[in-house]
């Protein structure tokens, strides 16, 4: 089985977007990554990753939800597409399959 080509950070953003389900937009995704990984990415990096994922067809987006905190600007919400879900599942399967093949002894000796 072939892994879907995704950068490490891209994969992270894709997963977080999926977690946030319907609520994912730039700042939100950034915060969630910080919460989950205790490491804060720059907002521009998050935007870049989101744009790339959308271009690859793993995400779709729509705009809406302007708030006063945003100076009246709209948000851009992201949603995982079916292709995105597939990519997440394939990568997970590949990872698990590889994990399962690690002999126990490797863990004991580590």
């Amino acid at each position: 089985m072939r892994r879907v080509q995704l950068g490490e950070f891209e994969e992270l953003v894709l997963l977080v977007t999926a977690i946030l389900h319907e609520e994912a937009y730039g700042v939100n995704v950034m915060d969630e990554i910080e919460r989950q990984l205790e490491k804060k990415p720059n907002i521009s990096a998050v935007h870049t990753a989101l744009d790339r994922l959308e271009k690859k067809g793993f995400l779709t987006s729509y705009t809406g939800g302007a708030t006063p905190e945003r100076g009246g600007r709209r948000k851009r919400y992201f949603k995982v597409t079916n292709l995105g879900i597939q990519a997440i599942e394939i990568n997970r399967k590949v990872r698990n399959a590889l994990y399962d093949q690690i002999p126990k002894i490797a863990f004991e000796n580590a």
């Binding site: 937009y25 730039g26 700042v27 950034m30 720059n42 907002i43 521009s44 990096a45 935007h47 870049t48 744009d51 705009t63 302007a66 708030t67 006063p68 905190e69 945003r70 100076g71 009246g72 600007r73 709209r74 948000k75 851009r76």
Partner: protein, 877 residues
């Protein structure tokens, strides 16, 4: 709404809007403001800074506006489109683009290499500080005729008499020397003898010692870095002693290696032993090269005007003593005699006065010739481009029509096609540079230079490249651009512009290409004919079996014993010694005939022993050669040219003199033989006899000529062994006489090889273009050919018609080329006294070669078309 008075800083948002694509603006701004609002509740300052930082972090390629977004009202978008269309066109017609780019690239490669070669020739001596105020003083013995050697006193006296001269130096060289270091003997080329002032005229960087302290006493020597390393293995050799010819020399300085592009490429400099040694010739002996440096703002012309007075003051008396029969200096001058000195700018020496160079001579004619060839090659490549672009114009007609309908004006269409040709040229330049780097080793072999690839990227070369792109782009692009942009939209869209450009102009260009090709091949032929003519010249002496041993003086009084032992060997037939050797540069001495009407001659002067005649295989026409007795010193043998110039009916018994009281009696006449390159005809020559050849020889003479028969390899080993038993501590050195004669034509051979290479390239590019043009023409005439065949024409008849169309162009080209190559070829040949005359076959063969190439290229294409089933051509619509 808070937007009326936002509490976040405004200017980063403005910055963002300035560089960021508008499409992304709102979302990014929103996210940034949201983060700011949140952070500012905790720490205002930190929030501001991270706000700014976040804006800067959006400076990513993805978000930055592209050209047309920055300046939306300019035509940048159009340029982008031109570029895109160009790339699409290249992709669509790969073969055509390849031919174009490859042809141009080869043209640019030739051009680039030639430019490198030429600009290198221009750099000679430019590194010397104040090179503009340094002059070489040369002897003018006839108006316009210059002699390199000057009297030893010249520089000294000029400095004393004329304040315009800041400093000057006498140089003698270059010569090889054998140095004894410790117990080792090492031969070192390119040495010279010079005054200590050499470093005032030609400053150089000292690695050890100082310019002031170097060479200011006899028996000191200055080495270049590489020689110091070669002799001692280190740089700091100040005060070390080396032995040359039995004299000890103290190293008084080490300087950096001299660059290759100089006319004074010394490797070591020896001090002048002592002034008496240098000036023993007084004013009539010319033993030195003189260089002077003028003070800033000096008047050179004024100084030159003072020379006649200088000559009268110091030299006239000595000359009158030599040439008897004149009452005063004015009488001597009135008789048509001349004596003066000329100032030759240092920077003019390499190309304009190559004979004055101490190093490898430059050649202005070669520089000019290759500039022209480079230009020709580029022209041919440009013509290819023009021809193919216009020929294929029908393919672009619809695009032009459409652009016009959409509102494009002619100016921007012209611009489009010019940009297109410049892009193609740019590709060609890149490819050309790659090819140049790749073939540089072969080019070095061809020119016997050692250019490194870095030289292709000097400021000057890059400037040239940019110039090439612009010039070719404009030159090659302009005609297609003007032509293509002239289409009327309606006819273009109808597809009626099928003529394929003005065929008259295209025909003219093809004729011009052929003219250049024929010219270059003819040139190659003439050069090679002349070279083979010179090197197969009847020399009048035996060269192929003669080995010459140098440094005969090292044998000292053991020469006779050495000779006897050699002759005992059956493989050695004859051994003779001469002060100089044929092909090796023989000095000319002044002689005067004795009689009622004395004739002054300056024959080549050779001292020889009594065996020289037989060894060299010369033919004695009258009288006898030397017999080896002491009275022979009063006898001379002359050649036929001497007899002719002296105007003697019966030369035997005639007398000649040299200005002193000694007279020489002519006892024999030899048939003319060649001692110089084919550039000169045979001159008068005189053989003298002396009991001590060492005295009258060059530093590496006398030259022992040995006639060998049979296996020479074995004999050479024998000679070397014999030499080593007779001479301790001096290496055996020698050469075959025919090799030495061969080397006289090295420069011409190099010229010939370069000429051939670039001619072949030119013809190659031209035939590529011809092939493409033929292919295009045939494509257009496919239906015509098919109809002809249907109506009964045979394939051979069809081929004949097409090929004949192109042959007509070749004939027209040849008609242009013949007079031009006749004129230029004759001009080049005039530089040789011993030359070929231009025969018709020198033109006929090149025309046939070009014709054959054309028939093959066109013929192949037309064969394919003519053999095709006419149905294939007729059914497609």
């Amino acid at each position: 709404m808070e937007s009326s008075k936002p509490n976040y800083p405004i200017w980063p948002i403005k910055l963002l809007r300035w560089f960021c694509k508008p499409h992304y603006n709102e979302i990014i701004e929103g996210d940034l403001i949201e983060i700011y609002e949140r952070e500012s509740k905790r720490n205002m300052t930190k929030a501001r800074w991270s706000f700014i930082w976040n804006v800067i972090r959006f400076f990513r390629l993805r978000y930055i506006k592209n050209m047309e977004e920055i300046r939306p009202k300019s035509s940048l978008g159009m340029y982008k489109n031109y570029f895109k269309v160009t790339i699409r066109n290249i992709r669509k017609h790969k073969a055509y683009a390849l031919i174009n780019i490859l042809g141009l690239a080869v043209g640019i490669t030739s051009c680039l290499l030639i430019v490198v070669h030429i600009s290198y020739q221009m750099t000679f001596d430019k590194h010397i500080p104040d090179a503009n105020s340094i002059y070489r003083m040369v002897n003018e013995y006839e108006p316009g005729k210059l002699g390199a050697w000057t009297p030893a006193l010249l520089v000294k006296q000029m400095r004393e008499d004329y304040p315009e001269i800041e400093t000057g130096v006498r140089i003698s060289g270059l010569f090889p020397a054998v140095f004894e270091v410790g117990r080792e003997f090492i031969t070192q080329e390119d040495g010279m003898i010079a005054d200590s002032t050499i470093f005032e005229v030609f400053p150089t960087q000292f690695l050890a010692g100082t310019p002031q302290a170097a060479l200011n006493e006899p028996n000191t020597v200055v080495l270049t870095r590489s020689v110091a390393h070669k002799l001692f293995g280190k740089e700091d050799v100040l005060g070390e002693v080396i032995v040359n010819n039995g004299y000890q020399y103290r190293v008084s300085g080490v300087v950096i290696d001299q660059p290759k592009n100089t006319t004074i490429p010394y490797k070591f400099i020896m001090a002048i032993p002592h002034e008496e040694w240098a000036t023993n010739g007084w004013w009539t002996g010319n033993n030195f090269f003189s260089y002077v440096k003028l003070r800033e703002g000096s008047d050179l012309i004024g100084l030159e005007l003072k020379i006649p007075e200088f000559v009268r003051k110091y030299i006239s008396a000595e000359i009158l003593q030599f040439y008897k029969g004149y009452d005063s200096w004015d009488d001597y001058l009135a008789d048509g005699n001349h004596k003066s000195f000329k100032f030759i700018p240092l920077l003019d020496i390499h190309l304009n006065h190559p004979r004055l160079s101490l190093g490898r001579a430059g050649n202005k004619d070669h520089v000019i010739t290759f500039s022209i060839i480079a230009f020709f090659i580029l022209t041919i490549a440009c013509i290819n481009y023009i021809n193919m672009s216009t020929a294929r114009s029908a393919l672009r007609a619809k695009e032009v029509g459409m652009r016009k309908v959409m509102g494009s004006v002619r100016k921007s269409l012209i611009l489009q096609f010019l940009i297109e040709s410049m892009i193609i040229t740019l590709f060609a330049v890149i490819l050309g540079i790659l090819i140049s780097v790749g073939i540089l080793p072969y080019f070095n072999q061809l020119t016997q230079m050692d250019y490194e690839w870095m030289i292709l990227f000097t400021g000057q070369s890059v400037l040239w490249l940019v110039g090439i792109i612009l010039i070719i782009g404009l030159l090659a692009g302009s005609y297609p651009a003007f032509y293509l942009s002239s289409f009327k939209p309606i006819t273009a869209l109808h597809g009626e512009v099928a003529k394929g450009g003005n065929s008259k102009i295209r025909t003219g260009l093809v004729v011009f290409q052929f003219a250049i090709s024929v010219f270059l091949i003819t040139g190659t032929f003439i050069v090679f004919q002349q070279i083979s003519h010179m090197s197969t010249r009847e020399l009048g002496l035996n060269t192929d079996q003669i080995f010459v041993i140098k440094n005969g003086n090292k044998l000292e009084d053991k020469y006779e014993a050495f000779r006897t032992e050699l002759l005992a060997q059956s493989a050695i037939r004859q051994v003779g010694a001469l002060s100089h050797y044929p092909s090796g540069g023989v000095p000319d001495w002044g002689y005067q005939t004795v009689g009622e009407n004395p004739v002054t001659l300056d024959p080549d002067n050779l001292f020889a022993d009594e065996h020289a005649l037989q060894t060299l295989g010369l033919e004695l026409v009258r009288g006898n050669f030397f017999s080896g007795i002491a009275s022979d010193t009063g006898a001379v043998i002359i050649n036929e040219s001497f007899v002719e110039e002296a105007g003697w009916e019966d030369p035997i018994g005639q007398m000649v003199e040299r200005g002193d009281d000694r007279k020489f009696r002519v006892t024999g006449v030899v048939r003319d033989f060649v001692i110089r390159s084919g550039k000169r005809t045979v001159r008068p020559l005189i053989f003298r006899y002396t009991t001590d050849l060492t005295e009258v020889s060059f530093s590496s003479g006398p030259f022992i000529h040995i006639e060998i028969q049979g296996d020479y390899q074995e004999t050479l080993t024998f000679l070397e062994n014999k030499w080593n038993t007779f001479v301790q501590g001096y290496p055996f050195d020698g050469f075959f006489l025919d090799d030495s004669f061969d080397r006289l034509y090295n420069s011409e051979r190099r010229f010939g090889r370069l000429f051939t290479t670039f001619s072949v390239l030119a013809i190659l590019i031209a035939s590529i273009g011809l092939f493409a043009l033929a292919a295009f023409t045939l494509e257009r005439r496919m239906k015509e050919i098919a109809i002809r065949k249907v109506l009964g024409a045979s394939a051979s008849r069809v081929m004949y018609v097409i090929v004949w169309d192109f042959l007509k162009l070749i004939i027209a080209g040849a008609l242009i080329a013949i007079p031009v190559s006749y004129y230029l070829g004759n001009d080049w040949l005039n530089g040789f006294e011993y030359r070929i005359s231009i025969q018709p076959h020198l033109f006929i063969i090149p025309i046939m070669i070009v014709g054959l190439i054309a028939i093959l290229t066109v013929g192949y294409k037309s064969y394919v078309t003519a053999m095709d089933n006419p149905v294939n051509a007729l059914k497609q619509e």
